[in-house]
Amino acid sequence: MAGKNDDNKPTVVLGVIGADVHAVGNQILEHALREAGFDVANIGVMVSQKEFVSAAIETGAEAIWVSSLYGHGEMDCRGLREKCIEAGIGDILIYVGGNLVVGKQDWEKVRKLFLDMGFDRVYPPGTLPEEAIADLEEDLKSRGVL
């Protein structure tokens, strides 16, 4: 796990939310983010909303990347943005991706559901790390961070 940011690289807090234990994608995302020049605070699997927020504050992170692979994402993710606001990091970038709901549902509906919850970007299953990293770079540039 990365400690406090002590270089010029932007930091991403990475974790799998809720009671979800899917670790493979998490490890690949960490690798891909590091390769792309980010610092990564990988807090692993089975992470609560509180842990995401604490890690983001502790590392001064620019973004939180939430994964949810097991279908409970809808219940697990509700309120994360509010918790960030309460903690004073309300405008941190929050991305989410994976199998976000139980069953095959209309993707646009799912996307809207999570955008409405306050997520900045929402990714369907099968998204390659490169794609989300490119979006992150764009978002950070538009915020003047990169």
């Binding site: 670790a23 493979v24 199998n99 099968g126 390659l128």
Partner: protein
Amino acid sequence: MTIKDKRLDEELFLKEREEVLKAWPTGKEVDFDEAVAYHKSIPEERIMVNTLMKADQVGKTLIQPRAGVALPEEHIGLLQYLREEGEADLLPTTIDSYTRQNQYREAENGIKESREMGRSMLNGFPAVNHGVKVCRQVNEAVNVPVQVRHGTPDARLLAEITLAGGFTDFEGGGISYNIPYAKSVAIEDTIRYWQYVDRLVGYYQEHGVNINREPFGPLTGTLVPPSISHSVAIIEALLAARQGVKYLSLGYGQNGNLIQDVAAIQSLRELARDYLDKFGYDDVMVTTVFHQWMGGFPQDESKAYAVISWGAAAASLSRATKVIVKTPHEAMGIPTKEANAAGLKTTKQIVNMLQDQGLEQTHNMDEEKEMIIRETEQILNRVLELGDGDLVQGTVRAFSAGVMDIPFAPSKHNAGQVLPARDNQGAVRYLNFGNLPFSHDVKEYHREKLSERGQVEDREVDFQMVIDDIYAIGKGMLVGRPR
């Protein structure tokens, strides 16, 4: 307290039961004697051990889906549909992720939300919350055996409720449901929990009730070399046998190279028989389970059908006793019941068409089998050494020393040093050995296989190769060749 590989004392076990059953109100519904009587009334066709033994005798491969939803009436409908439309030979009840973490309150909430939203908000069936009576309704609603499948580190209450609820097969184990399913639960603790589960199954057995037990074979489901999953399967088999379990199904997750997959099932069967006999458990019966590819699937459904079919073919050609089936929606998450039935029907057609065709034993198959056996023995010997002959302590120490090490597992008690990659024929080899106790020649074998691929692809054998392999099948290939 130091846990040892000893049968739990009956008195202490019964005392522990009282505590376990208090953990959630439905525990009150469990009455062991009544449950034994209930089991004895279950018709032949719904008892897993019978169906497995019969299939094993004639060399038939049975098919079983994964399935579970929040509400009983819908879960029953789902199982009936998979039986009738999907032609499943065996049925599952997959438990939701909250129950797996003993979060029964969250599960209760999920049940409520599911009723309100009119769709399942849980990724499985919360059996503890539903209790014994509802479990029996589930079992009685179908005409084939139903197994409990989950991923629960501490499944003591779940086992109590579901076994009293008439299920005749229970998946899991102290290693296989910890390291791939938990972040920080101690191995010693989960082994202890599963000694309880096995003791409970053994207790039913003592009372004349045959219940099947199945360690979870595929572990993290991602390029797990056979000798790693075999080591876990055999340890859990021995630990279960110690507690009085008499019927075991040992599993393996497809890697995709036919020769390796067939050799894996063959060697698993042989190794298990060998170790069980050596430990004096020659009355324990072993069947095998082949899991269709557990890694990333193609998004495209017609390509997913191909992956499912190839898994079905490998299962049948390996003569596994049963095959656990994927669905064409695999890449999209939890499938609809139609997609689930579709995966089953594809599998059924393949298994039927291959039923009468044998695969001849070849030189490469023998070599592959030989290697898996040697590797597994080297791991298990070292485990026993580390435990001074005690399997539980050996296992705990083996994990902390990295002598056992499961790739890509979330547990902090796992060394996480081992890295697998495919060789030039697509068989899974070791790229990093971590602290696996392999002999020089075994290591050399793997290095040569991977260096052959590196030469063909003209690149280093490194982590990028592993990543390419993880994505390969999802992108339509077996080996993750550089673009």
